[in-house]
C-alpha cells in the first residue's frame, strides 16, 4: 500500500492550482477517491496538486437565488449543514450514507463527482436537484448543467487542466421535497442502488419530479420516464407503482457478484418506489 513516487504541490488559490497543473499532474482534494487508487498503484501521477487548503473551496453559501457548495466541502460538513437540511433533506441523508465518519470527515463533494464512481451517492442526488457545476480552467469559468456533467464510466464533462470549484443549486429546486434512499453494497458500502427523488406538488398532484439513480448503470442517470409518468398525477401507491416500471428502460444495467442485472434492475424499481413513497407520506 505504497504509492509510486510523485511530486507534491500545495495550492493556496484556484488560480495557483491551475498554474500548477501540467502534464501528468492530478488534483488532490480530500483524497478519498485518489489516495486509495494511488496505494493500489491503479493510478500513478507525476505530480499532485493539493487543493484541500484552498479556503474559498470549503464554504457552503446561502445566496439570494441559490445555495453554493464549494468543491472542497466535506461530506460531514454537508451532513451538518442546517441550511441544506432545511431546504434539501436528501443532501444530508446522502452525506450521512457515504462511507463512514472518517471518510466523511475527509472526502469532498467535488472530489466525488470529479471521480464519478458509478456507485457514488452524490451524482444521483445532484441529478435530482437542478444543480450547476462551476468549473474553472486557465481560460476562465464555465458552468455545466448537472444533466450534462456525467458522461460515462468514471467519465465527466471535466476537461484536463480544469478544476471543479462550486456546485450551485438554484433555490427553485427547493420547492421540491426530497429524499435519498440507498441499498448498500455490503462490503464497500457504496450504492448497489441509490435513488434520490425530489417532487414538487401542486395541490394534490405532482407538478415536477426529478429522480436520480446511481449504482444501476455505468454512470448516474435521471429516470426521466418515471418523472414524466408522475407529472400531473397524485402521489400514491398506485401512481408510483405504475410510474416506476420504466426506471431502467433507457440504460444498460450493471452486473457483478453482488447483484446480477436482473436483481439490480429489480432493486432500482424497489428503491425508486420507496423514495417516492417516503415523499408521499411526508406530504
Amino acid at each position: 500500500m505504497i504509492p509510486t513516487s510523485f511530486d507534491y504541490k500545495k495550492a493556496s488559490s484556484v488560480e495557483e492550482a491551475l498554474g500548477m497543473l501540467g502534464d501528468d499532474a492530478q488534483i488532490l482534494g480530500g483524497g478519498h477517491s485518489l489516495i486509495p487508487a494511488l496505494k493500489l498503484r491503479l493510478n500513478a501521477p507525476g505530480t499532485l496538486v493539493d487543493i484541500s487548503k484552498i479556503d474559498s473551496l470549503k464554504v457552503i453559501r446561502d445566496n439570494e437565488n441559490s445555495i453554493t457548495i464549494g468543491a472542497g466541502v466535506t461530506h460531514a460538513e454537508i451532513a451538518a449543514s442546517d441550511v441544506l437540511a432545511q431546504h434539501c433533506p436528501m443532501m444530508g441523508q446522502a452525506a450521512n450514507a457515504i462511507g463512514d465518519i472518517q471518510v466523511r470527515n475527509r472526502g469532498t463533494i467535488g472530489g466525488s463527482i470529479a471521480h464519478a464512481d458509478p456507485a457514488a451517492d452524490w451524482p444521483a442526488v445532484l441529478l435530482a436537484t437542478d444543480a450547476n457545476v462551476i468549473i474553472q480552467g486557465k481560460n476562465g469559468k464555465r458552468t455545466v448543467d448537472i444533466d450534462q456533467f456525467f458522461k460515462g464510466f468514471f467519465e465527466t464533462a471535466l476537461e484536463e487542466g480544469e478544476i471543479i470549484t462550486t456546485i450551485s443549486i438554484p433555490k427553485t429546486a427547493f420547492n421540491r421535497n426530497s429524499t435519498y434512499v440507498k441499498f448498500k453494497q455490503p462490503a464497500s458500502r457504496f450504492a448497489l442502488v441509490g435513488c434520490a427523488a425530489a417532487v414538487e406538488m401542486d395541490g394534490g398532484s405532482v407538478k415536477s419530479a426529478r429522480i436520480g439513480l446511481t449504482g444501476v448503470s455505468e454512470y448516474a442517470y435521471r429516470a426521466t420516464g418515471v418523472e414524466n409518468a408522475l407529472a400531473g398525477k397524485a402521489l400514491n401507491a398506485d401512481t408510483i407503482a405504475s410510474a416506476v416500471s420504466g426506471v431502467t428502460d433507457s440504460v444498460d444495467v450493471m452486473s457483478d457478484h453482488y447483484a446480477s442485472e436482473k436483481y439490480r434492475s429489480h432493486l432500482a424499481h424497489v428503491f425508486v418506489k420507496r423514495a417516492l413513497m417516503n415523499l408521499s407520506y411526508s406530504k
Partner: protein, 787 residues
C-alpha cells in the same frame, strides 16, 4: 478458597493495548533492518519461462533479489504436519510447497521472487521492474470439479487432483440398510463456502541472523512460536533448533490462520544470513487475502433417515474438501478427524458413515479456521435436522430433544461412545436447548411469526452442537496421522521473594491468558494475582510449547500449569514441614500459608520460597530452589456443547436478511473468567454469523479471487450485528484438573447453521419451500429463492 476463579477479573494485559503500547511484529524495528516485498504470481496456473531481475537489481536501495532458482535444492519447502492416507492404504499425496516457485505457479499469490531493499517502498518499486514471462494454463478452483475427469491438474503426479480419500464410521452397507428402513429421509446438497480468516493484524515476520552468536531470531505473528521453530528448523531450513529463537510478540488475532508455518517466515530467516541484515516482511491486506490459509470449502451431499417417531436411524455424508494448491500445516486433519468424527453430534444416531475426498485446486491453501472441521460437521447435521423438521412438519426443538443422548457425567456414567471413533467426556444436552427456548420466548415467537404481515418474513433457526477441543491426546492423534504431539508444557518459577513467574507454551493473541492463567495460579497458591506474571511467546524464555488453537489453552496449557503449581506446593510442604518441625502430612495449605493441622503454627509461602533459595535451615537431601516444569498430555478431547437460536427478518422486496436476535447457551465446562468466556463466545458468533450472511470467496474461471479486498469481501460490521444474548450451563470436564472444556471456537461452530436455518424457516413459513440458499445468504440469493 477461590478468590479469583469464577470471577470476571479485568484483564491484566489491557493496559498496554489501550495506551497504544502493544508490540506487534510490524512495530519492531531492528538496527540496519532491510525490508522485503514478495512478488507473487498474478495467475492461478502458469509456467514460468523466464524471470529477468536485472533492471530491478540495479535500482538504488535494492539489497538483493532472489527467485526460486536461488533457493538450494535441499530446501524443498514448508511441510505438512498431518498425514491422512487413502482408504486403500496408499500414502497421502504431498507435493512440496516451495518457498519460491521454480517453474510452475499454482495459485494467484504463489511467491515468485523476494525483493529485499532499504525500504518497503523501494522493494515494491523494484518488484515492478521484474520481468516474468508466463505461459498461462487452465485452472480449477472447485473441490468437486477438481476430481472429475479432464480437470486441469494442479500437480502432474497427483491423478484426479486427489490428495487422499477417507472414510469413517459404520460400513456403508449397514448405513444404507438402516436408511432403507427409514420412514422419512432428508437429503441435502450444499457448499460450506470458503472464507478468509481476516485477523485484523496482517501477517508479519522479521528474520535476523546474529553473526556474533551464530544464531537466528525470527519475530513472527504466530499462534505457536515453538511449533514454527520446530517446523522451520527441522523440516525446512535444516538449522539446529538451539540456534534459533522464535518470538511471537503481541499478535493481532489468529483464528487459526497464524498456526501454520508460512514460506515468508523461512524466507526472511534464511536470507537474513545471506544479506547480513535483519529483514522485515509485512503483508498488505490484499496479499493476506491471497496467502493467509483460508477456511472451510467443502461440497457435501448428505442423507439423514428418521423412523416414524422422528428418531434418527442413519446418516450418510459425502464431502469434497478443498486443500488448495499445497498442503498447509494441518490441512488434512480438518475435513477428516476434526469433521467426520463429529457427525454423531448430540444425537443417538445408530448408523453413521462419512466419506471424504480431499482435492488440490489452483487456489490458496485451506486449513484450520476457527472451529476447523467442527463448524462443517455442525453445519451438516444442524441444517439437515432443521430441514427434516420442516419436511416432517415437526417442531425443530422437539425433534432434537427426542434424539439427544441421555446425560452422562463421565464419572458415575461412562463417556458416550460414538459411531465415529470418539468417546464424549461428559454431557447434559437438554438443558442448553431448554434454556435457549426460555430465553427466546419460543411460544410467543411462533405466535408473532404466524401473525406477521408487514412485507417481512420472520424466521427462527436452531443449532445444537458438540465440538471436540482441548486437543489432544498425543498417542491418539499420532495414530490418526498427526506428526506432532499435542501436549503442552509449563514452567512455574517461584522467585525467592515469593513472586511467581509462569512460562507457558500457550500463546495469547486475544484470549486473555495473561489474566486467566494468573487467576488459576493465584488461587491455587493462595497468593495475590499481582504476584503472578504469565510469560509466553518466546522460545528463549519458554522451554517448549505446542501453542494456541483448538480451544486448548486452558484445558491443556492450564492443566500443565496446574501440574507445575502442584509440584511447587508439594516441595513447599516439605520445606514448611521442616521449618515447622512437623510432618508434611500434618500440614494444611490455605491462603498462602502452611499450618500444622489443629494448631496456630504456620509459615507463609514467601518464607518457604525464601528458604528454598537461602537453604540454611533446610530439609536434608532436598534440592534448593523452587522451579518446576511439567508437560501435560490430555487423556481425551474435551466436548463443549450448546444451543444457539437465531431470529431473522427477511425483507421480501429485496431479500435482505436482518439478524434480529441471537441467543447462545453454551456449556464449556467450568469457567475461570466469565467475562473472558463471554467475550470469546461473542467473537465466535460474529464470525459464524459472518459466514452465514456476509462472507465467502468468489473465484472466477481463471482462478482469480475477485473479492480479495475489504471493498469486495464483506466483513461483519458493528451495525450488521445485534447485541448477543448469552448464557451457559456447566458440565465439568471429568478428566482435567480444572474441569474446563474450552470456549474459543464454540460461538463460531454453533452459530452458522442457526442463522441459515432461521432464513430457511422464514422462507418456508412464507410459502417458499426451498431446501437451501447457498451461503453467504446475500440479499440476491434470498430474493431469488422467493421468485
Amino acid at each position: 478458597m477461590t478468590k479469583y476463579i469464577g470471577k470476571s477479573v479485568k484483564r491484566l494485559e489491557d493496559k498496554r493495548f489501550i495506551t497504544g503500547q502493544g508490540k506487534y511484529t510490524d512495530d519492531i524495528k531492528l538496527v540496519n533492518m532491510a525490508h522485503a516485498y514478495i512478488l507473487r504470481s498474478p495467475y492461478a496456473h502458469a509456467t514460468i519461462n523466464s524471470i529477468d531481475t536485472s533492471e530491478a537489481k540495479a535500482m538504488e536501495g535494492v539489497v538483493a533479489i532472489y527467485t526460486g532458482a536461488d533457493i538450494p535444492e535441499a530446501i524443498a519447502g514448508v511441510p505438512c504436519g498431518w498425514q491422512v492416507n487413502f482408504k486403500n492404504g496408499d500414502i497421502m499425496k504431498e507435493p512440496p510447497h516451495p518457498l519460491l516457485v521454480r517453474k510452475k505457479v499454482r495459485h494467484v499469490g504463489d511467491g515468485v521472487a523476494i525483493v529485499i531493499a532499504d525500504s518497503k517502498a523501494i522493494a515494491k518499486d523494484a518488484s515492478e521492474l521484474i520481468d516474468i514471462d508466463y505461459d498461462i494454463h487452465d485452472a480449477v478452483t472447485d473441490p468437486k470439479a477438481a476430481a472429475q475427469a479432464g480437470a486441469p491438474l494442479v500437480h502432474a503426479d497427483v491423478p484426479s487432483n486427489t490428495c487422499f480419500d477417507w472414510e469413517l464410521g459404520n460400513p456403508k452397507e449397514e448405513v444404507s440398510a438402516a436408511m432403507a428402513s427409514a420412514a422419512h429421509v432428508t437429503e441435502l446438497e450444499f457448499a460450506n463456502q470458503r472464507v478468509v480468516p481476516n485477523a485484523i493484524e496482517p501477517r508479519s515476520a522479521i528474520g535476523h541472523y546474529d553473526t556474533a552468536h551464530d544464531r537466528y531470531t525470527l519475530y513472527t505473528s504466530t499462534q505457536n512460536p515453538h511449533l514454527t521453530r520446530l517446523l522451520m528448523c527441522a523440516f525446512v531450513l535444516g538449522i539446529p533448533e538451539h540456534k534459533v529463537r522464535v518470538v511471537g510478540p503481541d499478535v493481532g488475532g489468529g483464528f487459526g490462520s497464524k498456526i501454520f508455518h508460512y514460506t515468508e517466515e523461512a524466507l526472511v530467516t534464511f536470507f537474513s544470513k545471506i544479506v547480513g541484515r535483519p529483514i522485515k516482511w509485512t503483508a498488505d491486506r490484499s496479499e493476506a487475502f491471497l496467502t493467509d490459509a483460508h477456511g472451510r470449502d467443502h461440497v457435501t451431499h448428505a442423507k439423514m433417515g428418521f423412523d416414524a417417531d422422528g428418531k434418527i436411524v442413519a446418516l450418510q455424508a459425502y464431502t469434497y474438501a478443498n486443500m488448495g494448491a499445497y498442503l498447509s500445516t494441518f490441512a488434512p486433519a480438518v475435513p477428516t478427524y476434526l469433521h467426520g468424527t463429529l457427525l454423531q453430534g448430540l444425537y443417538t444416531t445408530p448408523k453413521i458413515n462419512v466419506d471424504v475426498t480431499a482435492t488440490f485446486t489452483h487456489t490458496n491453501a485451506v486449513d484450520a479456521y476457527r472451529g476447523a472441521g467442527r463448524p462443517e460437521a455442525t453445519y451438516l447435521l444442524e441444517r439437515i435436522i432443521d430441514l427434516a423438521a420442516l419436511e416432517m412438519d415437526m417442531d425443530p426443538a422437539e425433534l432434537r430433544l427426542k434424539n439427544f443422548i441421555e446425560p452422562f457425567d463421565g464419572v458415575e456414567q461412562e463417556g458416550y461412545v460414538t459411531q465415529v471413533a470418539l468417546q464424549y467426556d461428559s454431557g447434559n444436552y437438554a438443558p442448553v436447548l431448554n434454556r435457549a427456548l426460555e430465553m427466546v420466548g419460543y411460544e410467543a415467537f411462533r405466535k408473532e411469526q404466524a401473525a406477521q404481515s408487514n412485507g417481512k418474513l420472520l424466521g427462527i433457526g436452531f443449532s445444537t452442537y458438540i465440538e471436540a477441543c482441548g486437543i489432544a491426546p498425543s498417542a491418539v492423534v499420532g495414530a490418526l496421522g498427526a506428526r506432532a504431539g499435542l501436549f503442552e508444557s509449563a514452567q512455574v518459577t517461584v522467585q525467592p521473594t515469593g513472586k511467581v513467574s509462569v512460562y507457558t507454551g500457550s500463546h495469547s493473541h486475544g484470549q486473555g491468558h495473561e489474566t486467566t492463567f494468573a487467576q488459576v495460579v493465584a488461587d491455587r497458591m493462595g497468593i495475590a494475582i499481582e504476584d503472578v506474571e504469565i510469560i509466553h511467546g518466546d522460545s528463549d524464555r519458554v522451554a517448549f510449547g505446542m501453542g494456541t488453537y483448538g480451544s486448548r489453552s486452558l484445558a491443556v496449557g492450564g492443566s500443565a500449569i496446574v501440574k507445575s503449581v502442584d509440584k511447587v506446593l508439594e516441595k513447599g510442604a516439605k520445606i514448611a514441614a521442616h521449618l515447622l518441625e512437623a510432618s508434611p502430612d500434618d500440614l494444611d495449605y490455605a491462603d498462602g500459608k502452611w499450618t500444622v493441622r489443629g494448631t496456630d503454627k504456620s509459615v507463609a509461602f514467601g518464607d518457604v520460597s525464601l528458604t528454598a533459595y537461602v537453604p540454611h535451615n533446610y530439609p536434608e537431601g532436598l534440592e534448593p530452589g523452587m522451579d518446576f516444569s511439567s508437560f501435560y498430555d490430555p487423556t481425551n478431547f474435551t466436548y463443549p456443547f450448546g444451543a444457539h437460536v437465531a431470529i431473522v427478518e427477511i425483507d421480501k422486496e429485496t431479500g435482505a436478511v436482518k439478524l434480529k436476535r441471537f441467543i447462545a447457551v453454551d456449556d464449556v465446562g467450568n469457567v475461570i473468567n466469565p467475562m473472558i468466556v463471554d467475550g470469546q463466545i461473542h467473537g465466535g458468533l460474529a464470525q459464524g454469523i459472518g459466514q452465514a450472511l456476509h462472507e465467502g470467496t468468489v473465484y472466477d474461471e481463471s482462478g482469480q479471487l475477485i473479492n480479495g479486498s475489504y471493498m469486495d469481501y464483506c466483513m461483519p460490521r458493528a451495525d450488521d450485528l445485534p447485541s448477543f444474548e448469552v448464557d451457559r450451563t456447566v458440565t465439568p470436564c471429568p478428566h482435567n484438573p480444572l474441569g474446563v472444556k474450552g470456549a474459543g471456537e464454540a460461538g463460531c461452530i454453533g452459530s452458522t447453521p442457526a442463522v441459515v436455518n432461521a432464513v430457511i424457516d422464514a422462507l418456508w413459513k412464507g410459502g417458499f419451500k426451498v431446501k437451501d440458499v447457498p451461503m453467504p445468504m446475500t440479499p440476491e440469493r434470498v430474493w431469488t429463492a422467493m421468485q
